[in-house]
Point group: C2
Chain length 237, copies 2
DNA sequence: GCCATTATTGACCGACGAGTCAATAACGAC
DNA sequence: GTCGTTATTGACTCGTCGGTCAATAATGGC
C-alpha cells in the first residue's frame, strides 16, 4: 500500500513562504529558511513547487483570486438607471468590502503590494491595476453620461488619479497594526473625489486675490528633502 | 609621481549600474555585468563603491537630490496671503517643474520608483513620500484656513489620496516613450482634486433617482479580474 | 514479520557572484 | 632608462543557495 501524502505539507510551506517573503523579499528569502520554518524538508518543497518563484506566484494567485471578487467585478450597463446618491452609495459599499478583505488578508496583500512592484514581478500588479483603472474609467463615463460628473473630465487621467489614490490607501492599510475606521476613511476618500477640495461658492470670490502666487500644494510623491541630515545618514547607512 | 586617478571611472560605473539595475533589479544585477558594461574592472568598482548596494544608494541619492528641489521645498507661511486662483497657479507651476524633471530623468526615476518599493530599500521612498505628504497636508490646511477648501476635510486622508495619485502619475510617466502633454495632464489632475467629479448643481437634482444602487466607481487599485484567462496563464508562467 | 508502493528526507553537488589582493600599469621627476 | 607613488586589473577564493536523488520512512495488505 502506498504511503498517503501529507495533507498539510503544501499549506504549511506556503504559510512559511509568506512569512519569509514578507521579511526578506522573494530574491533574498531562501528555500532553506522556508522549509525550516515550515518544519519540512527541501525535498518536500520541490515536490510541491517547481521553484521558489513558483511558490511566490501561488501566493499571488490566491491574493488576486480574493481581490478579484471586488475589483472590476461590476461595471455599469447601458440599462443601469441610477442617481448620483445611489451611485455613490454603491461605490462606497464596494470600497468597504474590498478594503475589509485587504485588512483581513494583510500579510499576503503586503507581500503582493511590495514584491509585486519589483522588476520581474511587476507585471502581476500592473495587470491588476489596468483592470481596476478600466473599471474606474467606465464608471466615470457613466457618471458623465448621466450628467453627474463634469463633462470636461479627462477620463483616462482622472481614472489614473483615482486608481493611484486607492493604491496608496491599500499600501498604508496593510502596514497598520490597528484597524482604522474604514468607513470613515473610504467616505472621505470618495468625498475628496466627488466633491473636490473647493468649498462651495465662497471660494470663487476669495480666489480673486491679486497677490503673486508662491506656494505649491500638489507634490510629486516620491520626493524628499535631500537636505535632511537624517535621511542622508540613512543613505550612507 | 603618483598615477592620477581616472576622472570618468566613477561616472561610467554609475551610468552602467543604472542600466543594469533598471534591467535586472538590484538583487539580480551583477557587479560583473556592470563593470563589463562600463569597460572597467571589478577592482575599480570596489575602489569607488563599498558594495553593489552602495552604488545603488548613490544613484538614489542623486535622484532624490534633484527631486528635493521641488518636493516639500516650499510650504505656506502664516503671512502668505493668496487667493485660490493664485494658490492653484503655483500648485500647477510646481507640478510642471517637478514632472518636467521626472521626464528628463526617466531612467533613474524609473529605477527608484521600482526598486525603491522593494523590502529592504522601501525606507528610501517611504521617507520621501512622508515629506511629500506632510507638505501637501500643510497646503490643505492653508486652503481650509483661508476658506478655499471644505472645512470638513480630513487632512490626513485627503493628503494620502493626493499623494497616491501623483505617485501613480509619476510611475506612468517614467514608462512612456513619448512625452505626453504634461501641462494638460497636470491641469486635469489638479481639477480632479480641487473641483471634484461632480457637475455643479445639476447633479443634485438628478441624484434623487429612486433606483436601487448597483454599480461601484471607486476601486481597489491592485485588483484584477481573476477570471481573466490571460492573467491566469501569466500566473502559471 | 515481509512486501510493494509512494512519500519524505537532507547531505550533497555545482553554479554563481561578491569581494580580495598580488601583479601589473601609469605617471612625472630625475 | 630607473624610481617611488598611486591606480587599475582580473584570476582567484570562498561562501551561499537552488535544486537533486539515493537512502530512508510510512502505509495497508498479506
Amino acid at each position: 500500500m502506498a504511503r498517503p501524502p501529507d495533507k498539510t505539507a503544501r499549506a504549511d510551506l506556503l504559510a512559511a513562504a509568506l512569512i519569509e517573503f514578507d521579511e526578506h523579499g522573494v530574491e533574498r528569502a531562501t528555500v532553506e529558511a522556508i522549509t525550516s520554518r515550515a518544519g519540512r524538508s527541501k525535498g518536500a518543497f520541490y515536490l510541491h513547487f517547481e521553484s521558489k518563484e513558483a511558490a511566490f506566484l501561488a501566493l499571488c494567485e490566491s491574493a488576486f483570486a480574493g481581490l478579484g471578487e471586488f475589483i472590476g467585478a461590476v461595471t455599469p450597463s447601458s440599462s443601469l438607471d441610477w442617481g448620483l446618491e445611489a451611485l455613490r452609495a454603491h461605490w462606497l459599499e464596494t470600497d468597504l468590502r474590498a478594503f475589509e478583505y485587504v485588512w483581513q488578508h494583510r500579510p499576503i496583500l503586503r507581500l503582493v503590494l511590495s514584491v509585486g512592484m519589483c522588476g520581474r514581478f511587476a507585471y502581476l500588479v500592473d495587470a491588476f491595476a489596468t483592470v481596476a483603472r478600466e473599471s474606474i474609467a467606465r464608471w466615470l463615463e457613466y457618471g458623465v453620461e448621466r450628467g453627474f460628473y463634469r463633462a470636461e473630465l479627462d477620463i483616462a487621467i482622472t481614472s489614473m488619479a483615482i486608481g493611484g489614490a486607492y493604491d496608496r490607501l491599500a499600501r498604508e492599510l496593510v502596514r497598520l497594526e490597528k484597524k482604522p475606521d474604514l468607513a470613515r476613511w473610504l467616505s472621505q476618500f470618495q468625498a475628496t473625489f466627488v466633491e473636490g477640495l473647493a468649498a462651495r461658492e465662497r471660494a470663487t470670490k476669495r480666489g480673486q486675490s491679486p497677490t503673486k502666487p508662491r506656494g505649491p500644494a500638489g507634490e510629486e510623491p516620491v520626493a524628499a528633502k535631500t537636505r535632511r541630515a537624517s535621511r542622508h545618514a540613512a543613505l550612507r547607512g
